[in-house]
Amino acid sequence: MADLSSNLAGIRSPNPFWLASAPPTNSGYQVMRAFAAGWGGAVWKTLGEPIVNVTSRFAGLNAGATKMIGMNNIELITDRPLDDNLREIAACKAAYPDRPIVASLMTGCTQRSWHELVNAVQDVAVDGFELNFGCPHGMSERGMGSAVGQDPALVEQITRWVKEAARVPVIVKLTPNITDVRYTARAAARGGADAISLINTLNSLMGVDLDTWNPIPHVDGKSSHGGFCGPAVKPIALNMVGECARDPQVTVPISGIGGIATWRDAVEFMLMGATNVQVCTAVMRDGFRIVADMIEGLNNYLDDRGIASVAEIVGKTVPRFVDWNDLNLDYKIVARIDPATCINCNRCWIACEDAAHQCIDRLVDETGASVLEVDEEHCVGCNLCSMVCPVDECITMVRVDDGESVHTWRERLSVPS
């Protein structure tokens, strides 16, 4: 049994799976259920001046028959009184003293209001704060959430204010709705943040109803941009986590968020530099019970590789995440199609023919059976055929260069002409 415990800037948890600040952490009842199911920690639904929500708040993105590969929401921060939330936080802490509860905070842009909120909340012994500089909808129109998170100066300033008052670690949650997330990450570090968490949700409009022409989700016929999350945003999140992890000026640990639904996703985020991960959409779809599979899967993964502690994998892929200019131009792979497992759906052929480099040939063998063969001389190794192939391992990408020579674009540029 591997050691799954994690330590994010001094916040220790029995496993790296936290619930993100979101609808699943709206109440003590839910967080109790989550801890009973095994979640390692929880970031409470953002506390602040209670708001009024609209009904009709979420919408899902489906892929074929698969429901909710993404979702967006226009729900705001907590709509419950601060005292109720604090009382329930204290009860959860009493019941599960080993599980960290981090209070997500959002308030107006003054030193005084942040100090008041921090002081009011830390009396109930929360394990940390997460500053919600990310929510892209609703609160941003009131100068909060992503309106703060898109301005590095504000991020730095507010972080500094919070650090003045906070007695527990402060995590700054970053918005992805920005040109280059490293700027706000660096600002958080400069402001004294103990950690950053990313990504918050992406600006989105889920859809338009083809019959009514209402935007989706609609509130009495109208909608507003919402925050997009779930498996569909994972590649965006993973990139942003990686960019922060490899940035020398982002000197704080990272809590990874964005489309994590399985232990595999979690491993990827940790390899990419996240100390722990936060989950929301997967729980909204399948409930708290999924954490048991995440814990078991992560443990099996580590045990199979003889890795004693999950902490050992954090950041292991970061050195391999580089500028394009540092990629080896001499590395050459080509596609090989295994005729024994090919089912002749010709998906690779049409993809290559119409969208890539026209280098798969449809041949007929001596028995009259059709065979797909890669023209390796012209194959550019783009991977597209292997991506559209429905059969695992049928199309493999095989290395055909000498395996030794390395030649990068940066080197080419530095060669005197």
Partner: protein
């Protein structure tokens, strides 16, 4: 096309897909390129395309893709031996279940039948007239495509209703007559004049058609089930399987049906007669086939279905004599045959069983005289045609069962539809020769 309601005779052989099944199944399709399912479809329906249209919520587009390629697309969704055709070719097989193409096709065509819209329109009038002899799948398919090509088409159908075997000769739990009649109605909506109750040869002469029309499609199908040629065949309680099925479909009952039924034959019509007997109340129904099980022409899934309905099978046995009592069937004398596939009787192996009915389903007779009347060369009643459905007579074409050789194994509705389409294409080319 009014008709009195037909009887369902119990639940359908395959239930329509539930909405959830449709979504899951349509999205499971891999959307192959140059898809084997389409290549395996005699009418060449672009199957991945219609499935993709179902998946995207374009049911009209899905139905159009199907019906464009196959005017009998709703019937074929139900009666095609999909395991032998599209589904058998699905790239998922044999490692995973094939996409349920037939049922998805039924989903799309059921939607179209309920919606009621016309998908196609007649072509620009060519001024040419074409007569179609026979309103079954081949004739209606030819007529549909000829109308879309702008020709004025008259279908002569000897029965009271169009549709041929689809209307009368297939048990309703495989194919309700309403489906076949809806398909005929779609042909009529294109301006095709379907004259029912008119037999060519008796009601109207072949020479008359040759004189009045620019081209003729013979799609007369086949006739009655021939006699077994054994004593006692004229007794009460002996049925031609097609008459039996028709009566069951029209009346929901067959007069004189007893407890014990013997069906002679090993094809799909024999299966239909057997299962219909069962559903009409016979307690013991047995199919007698002269060769081994592997030589039966009924599809494996049909045989499996008959078994599930309680039909029993006896192989390598032929009827020798129908035992009668006061002019009615009382028993059946059978003789065992060599298991080497020759169907040679084994001397001394005869035995007699008590039965109340004998249903013969040993194929159908041919309309040789009709072909003669058009001067069409035939071999034992099978019209001789080239790949374009041309007969020896320049203005006469033939499609469907009347040009399928016995035992060729291609007498499927879907094959008939395709030959009808081919005939229409050939006639169009013929009629436009020199006019371009």
């Amino acid at each position: 096309m009014a008709m009195k309601p037909t009887f369902a005779l119990g639940p359908p052989m395959a239930e329509p897909l539930a909405p959830l099944d449709v979504i899951v199944e349509a999205n499971r399709c891999l959307n192959c390129y140059d898809a084997p399912c389409t290549r395996a479809c005699p009418t060449g329906i672009d199957i991945p395309r219609f499935i993709r249209r179902i998946a995207s919520g374009d049911k009209a587009g899905a139905a159009r893709t199907i019906m464009d390629a196959n005017p009998m697309g709703a019937s074929c969704a139900r009666v095609c031996p999909t395991e032998e055709l599209c589904e058998g070719a699905c790239v998922y097989t044999p490692d995973a279940p094939a996409i349920r193409i037939g049922q998805l096709q039924q989903h799309a065509t059921d939607w179209l039948m309920a919606d009621g819209r016309a998908l196609f329109s007649p072509g620009t009038p060519s001024g040419k007239r074409v007569a179609v002899v026979g309103g079954g799948p081949a004739g209606l398919s030819a007529a549909r495509d000829l109308a879309r090509l702008g020709h004025q088409v008259t279908v002569f159908e000897r029965d009271d209703l169009p549709g041929g075997l689809n209307t009368y000769g297939i048990v309703p739990y495989r194919l309700p007559a309403e489906v076949a009649l809806w398909e005929a109605e779609q042909v009529r909506r294109l301006g095709v004049d379907i004259r029912t109750g008119v037999a060519v040869g008796t009601g109207v002469a072949a020479a008359e058609l040759l004189a009045e029309y620019d081209a003729i499609v013979i799609a007369c199908g086949m006739g009655r089930v021939p006699h077994l040629g054994i004593p006692g065949e004229d007794a009460g309680g002996v049925w031609d399987a097609l008459d039996f099925i028709r009566r069951a479909k029209e009346d929901g009952a067959v007069p004189g049906l007893g407890d014990t039924v013997a069906v002679i034959g090993g094809g799909n019509t024999a299966i239909d007669a057997a299962t219909a007997s069962k559903r009409l109340g016979a307690s013991s129904v047995t199919m007698f086939y002269r060769r081994g099980a592997e030589r039966m022409t009924a599809y494996a899934f049909e045989i499996e279905f008959a078994r599930s309905e309680g039909v029993e099978f006896r192989h390598c046995v032929i009827p020798k004599r129908i035992v009668t009592n006061e002019g009615r069937v009382a028993g059946l004398e059978l003789i065992r045959t060599d298991t080497d596939g020759s169907a040679r009787p084994i001397p001394g192996s005869a035995y007699t069983i008590p039965v109340d009915n004998v249903i013969r389903a040993i194929g159908q007779s041919r309309f040789a005289a009709l072909l003669d009347a058009f001067g069409v060369i035939h071999e034992h009643g099978v019209a001789v045609v080239d790949d374009d459905m041309r007969t020896n007579q320049p203005r006469v074409f033939a499609a469907g069962d009347c040009m399928f050789r016995a035992g060729a194994g291609d007498a499927m509705v879907v094959e008939a539809a395709e030959r009808g389409k081919t005939a229409a294409r050939s006639i169009d080319a013929f009629l436009r020769e020199g006019t371009a």
